[in-house]
Amino acid sequence: MDNNNNNNENNIVLSTKNLNKTFKMGGKIVEAVKDINIDFEDSTLISIVGKSGSGKSTLLNLLGSLERPDSGEIIFEDKNIVKLSDKKLIDYRRKDVGFVFQFFNLIPNLTAIENVTLPMEFVKLNKEERIKRAKELLRKVDIEEDRFSHTPLKLSGGQQQRVAIARALANDPKIILADEPTGNIDSETGELIVKLLHKLSEEGKTVIIVTHDASITKLSDKTYYIYDGKVIKKDNCLGKVKSKL
C-alpha cells in the first residue's frame, strides 16, 4: 500500500514488495510476514510497532538479510537483495546495514573499542583507521574515553547499547536496523537512545526501529503498525490498532 502512496521515489532507500515469510512451528505453518509493502525513505526514523509475535522482528531480519523471504522483493539501491548470492548478502550486511539489538549483543570478551572495530575488520580497514574511527564513534555516542577498554560486563545497559550503536555505525551504513533498542534498559536511558537514533536519522541514516513501545513513535517520522504479520499505516489505522496492541 505504501508503494502506491509514495510521493518522492528518489528518497527511497529500501522498499519491500509483497514480502512473505512463513515458519514451521510444531508442525504448523505460521505466517510471520504477510504481503508487506513498505518504502523506507532516506534520513528518516521509522518505527514498526507491534506486540510480541506480530512479525515485526521477522520483518527486520528480512530487511537485514538475516532471513530470506518465501516470496516478495526487498529492493535496496535498485537491487532485489532477495536474489543476491550469500556472498553479496554478506557484503550488504557489512556495508549497507547496521544492527542494534535489544540485548546489545556485544562480544563479551572484547572491549568496547574492539567491539566497534570488529565490523571494520571485515571490510579490511587498516588498524590505525579502525581505531581512529572507533574512537570517533564511541565519542559520538557519548562513551567516556576511560570506558573504551572496558569489556561489556563492566558497562551499564545504556553504555552497552550505545557501544552497540557505535558498532552499527562502524562501516557507515545507510540503514540502521534496531530491534527493541530500549527493551532492556530503563525508560530514561531508553529515551536517550531513541534521541541518539533520531539524531542519526537527521544526519542522513535511515533508522528502522522495531518496538512494542508506542512511546518511541513520538520521535518517529513514520510509524507502521504490524499485526499478525500484516502492516496497517499509522495515519489511517492508529486508533483501531492501538486498541488491539
Binding site: D91, R93, N105, N109
Partner: protein
C-alpha cells in the same frame, strides 16, 4: 591478525577447562609422537637387519638330518667328525650356478696353548678362580680330561675376509696391517684381535704357535665393544684368530673314531655363498637343498638367527602402532568435544558476527586459530612430557615385549641378582645375541627432525579436525534464531 588475536583470546574465556584440555591433549600428543618415533627406530632396526641378511647365505651341516640319523644308527655317529664336514667339491658345484657371485670356504676349530694368555685367563687372574664365561658345566674332552677353556683359543680359517659376517657388519675393524687375500690361502699368517695382541705382546710380524707351526701376525683388528657389567670384565669382545683357509685345513686336524686324526684336506666346515640379487637368494637356497644336497648339508640364510629379532620388532611395532592410533583418536575426540562445547556455548557470538558482516570463513578461521592454539600449547607441553617419559616408556614396552617372549630368561646368566625382575633382563648379557637384538635392547629414541615435522603435522591435523564441527555449525546457524533472546 585480529582473527588470530581473537582466536587466542578465546582460550582464556574458560581457563580451567582449557588447561585441562591442553593437559589431556598433551598426553595424547606425547604418546602418539613417542610411538611414531619408536616406529621409526624399529623400522631402522628392521632395515639394518634385512640389509645385514642381504644376499649372503650359508651352507652348513644339516643337524636335523644328523639327529634323524642318530636315532636310526645310534649316538656313535657323533664320533665321526667327517659327518659334519662339507666336501670342497660342493663349493665348486655351487659356483657353477648362474646366480652365484662368490663361494667362500670356512673352517673353524680350537687349539690349546700354554704360552698364550686368553681373556678368560686374564679375568681369572684378576678375579680369582671364580670367573666363568657363560659356561656353567665342566667340559670333558674326548679322553675324559676336563677341558680348561682358559687355555683354548678359537681359530677360523677363511678365504675372503670380506665374506665374513663380522667384517661385513662392521663388528670388526682392521687397525693395523692387512686382511689376507685368496693368494695367501696357504700361508702361515693371522689376523688377531687388539686386546689379544696387547695381552700377549704381539705386534705386526710377531709370531706365535698354533699346533706346532709358527704363525705370523699380518693384521690386527678391533672388535666392536659391547658393554658388560664389571663382574664380566666390563666389556665383551670376540678374540677369534683368523687364518687362511688352507692353513686352517692343515692345522686344525680333528680326532675321529679311536683317536684317529681326520684329514681335513678337501673339507670345509661351512660355505658362505653370495648371490647376485635378493630375488635369487631363496631360489638358489632351494636349488642347493633340493638338487645338490643329499640331505646332510643344508643351505639357509641367517634369517632364522634374525627371525626372533624381527618377530620382536614386529610385536613392539604392533604395540606402538596401536598406542599411536589410540592416542591420536583420543586426541581427536578431545579436540572435537571441546570445540563442540565451545561452538554451542558461543552460538550467540556466531550470530552476532554473522549479523555484522562476518563470513563463514571469517568465523571458522577464528575457531581454527583457537583450535590451533590449544593444540600448539599441548604440543609444547608434550615436548616436556616426552623428554621426561620417552626413555622409561620405550624401555618398558621393549622390556615387556622381550620379556613376554622369554628373552629375559634366555639371556640372563644365573646367579646374578640384577634386572631380571624388571621383566626382560636385557641390559646385561648380550654375548649370545644377534646384532639386531643388541641394537634393539640399546634402542635410543632420539627425536629427529622428521619427528618434528610429524609433530607439527599431527598438531595441525588435530586442530583442523577440531575446527570441523565449528565450521559445520557456523554454516548451518541462522543468526536470527540465536539473536532474538538475551
Amino acid at each position: 591478525m585480529p582473527t588470530i588475536s581473537r582466536g587466542i583470546k578465546n582460550i582464556f574465556r574458560n581457563k580451567i577447562r582449557n588447561i585441562a584440555v591442553i593437559l589431556v591433549l598433551a598426553l595424547c600428543l606425547s604418546l602418539a609422537l613417542m610411538m611414531i618415533n619408536m616406529d621409526f627406530s624399529l623400522d631402522n632396526i628392521t632395515k639394518s637387519v634385512k640389509r645385514k641378511i642381504g644376499t649372503r647365505f650359508d651352507v652348513t651341516t644339516n643337524y636335523e638330518y644328523i639327529e634323524e640319523l642318530a636315532k636310526k644308527e645310534g649316538e656313535r655317529i657323533y664320533d665321526n667328525p667327517e659327518l659334519f664336514l662339507i666336501d670342497e667339491s660342493l663349493a665348486d658345484e655351487i659356483s657353477k650356478i648362474d646366480s652365484i657371485e662368490r663361494v667362500s670356504k670356512i673352517m673353524h676349530g680350537e687349539f690349546k696353548s700354554e704360552k698364550l694368555k686368553s681373556f678368560e685367563a686374564e679375568m681369572r687372574q684378576k678375579q680369582g678362580g671364580d670367573y666363568v664365561v657363560a659356561v656353567e658345566e665342566k667340559v670333558i674332552g674326548e679322553e675324559g680330561e676336563e677341558i680348561d677353556y682358559s687355555k683354548m683359543f678359537y681359530v677360523m680359517g677363511i678365504e675372503d675376509a670380506d665374506m665374513i659376517k663380522q667384517f661385513q657388519e662392521g663388528d670388526i675393524n682392521l687397525v693395523e696391517g692387512n686382511l689376507f687375500k685368496r693368494t695367501d690361502i696357504e700361508q702361515n699368517v693371522a689376523l688377531i684381535e687388539k686386546n689379544f695382541a696387547e695381552r700377549n705382546r704381539l705386534k705386526l710380524d710377531s709370531e706365535f704357535i698354533i699346533n706346532n707351526e709358527k704363525i705370523k701376525v699380518c693384521g690386527i683388528y678391533e672388535f666392536k665393544k659391547i658393554e658388560q657389567p664389571e663382574e664380566f670384565g666390563g666389556y665383551w669382545g670376540e678374540e677369534t684368530i683368523y687364518i687362511p683357509f688352507k692353513t686352517a685345513q692343515r692345522l686344525l686336524n680333528r680326532r675321529g673314531r679311536e683317536g684317529v686324526n681326520v684329514d681335513m684336506k678337501g673339507k670345509a666346515d661351512m660355505l658362505t655363498v653370495k648371490v647376485d640379487s635378493l630375488d635369487n637368494v631363496q631360489k638358489t637356497i632351494n636349488y642347493i637343498n633340493n638338487t645338490l644336497s643329499d640331505g646332510r648339508i643344508k643351505a639357509s640364510q641367517e634369517w632364522t638367527k634374525y627371525a626372533q629379532i624381527l618377530y620382536s620388532t614386529k610385536s613392539i611395532k604392533k604395540i606402538s602402532t596401536i598406542s599411536m592410533i589410540s592416542a591420536f583418536a583420543a586426541g581427536v575426540l578431545i579436540i572435537l568435544s571441546i570445540m563442540f562445547i565451545n561452538t554451542r556455548q558461543r552460538a550467540k557470538d556466531i550470530g552476532i558476527l554473522k549479523a555484522i558482516g562476518a563470513s563463514n570463513i571469517n568465523i571458522s578461521s577464528q575457531f581454527l586459530i583457537e583450535s590451533i592454539s590449544l593444540c600448539v600449547l599441548a604440543l609444547i607441553l608434550s615436548s616436556i612430557i616426552i623428554l621426561a617419559v620417552n626413555k622409561p616408556l620405550s624401555d618398558f614396552i621393549i622390556g615387556q615385549t622381550l620379556g613376554r617372549y622369554g628373552y629375559g630368561e634366555m639371556w640372563f646368566p644365573e646367579g646374578i641378582e640384577t634386572e631380571k625382575e624388571k621383566g626382560a633382563g636385557y641390559e646385561l648379557e648380550t654375548a649370545e645375541m644377534s646384532p639386531g637384538f643388541v641394537e634393539l635392547i640399546n634402542l635410543k629414541i632420539i627425536f629427529s627432525p622428521q619427528i618434528l615435522i610429524y609433530a607439527i603435522l599431527i598438531t595441525f591435523l588435530l586442530a583442523a579436525i577440531g575446527s570441523l564441527i565449528p565450521a559445520y555449525y557456523i554454516s548451518k546457524l541462522r543468526p536470527a534464531e540465536v539473536l532474538r533472546f538475551g
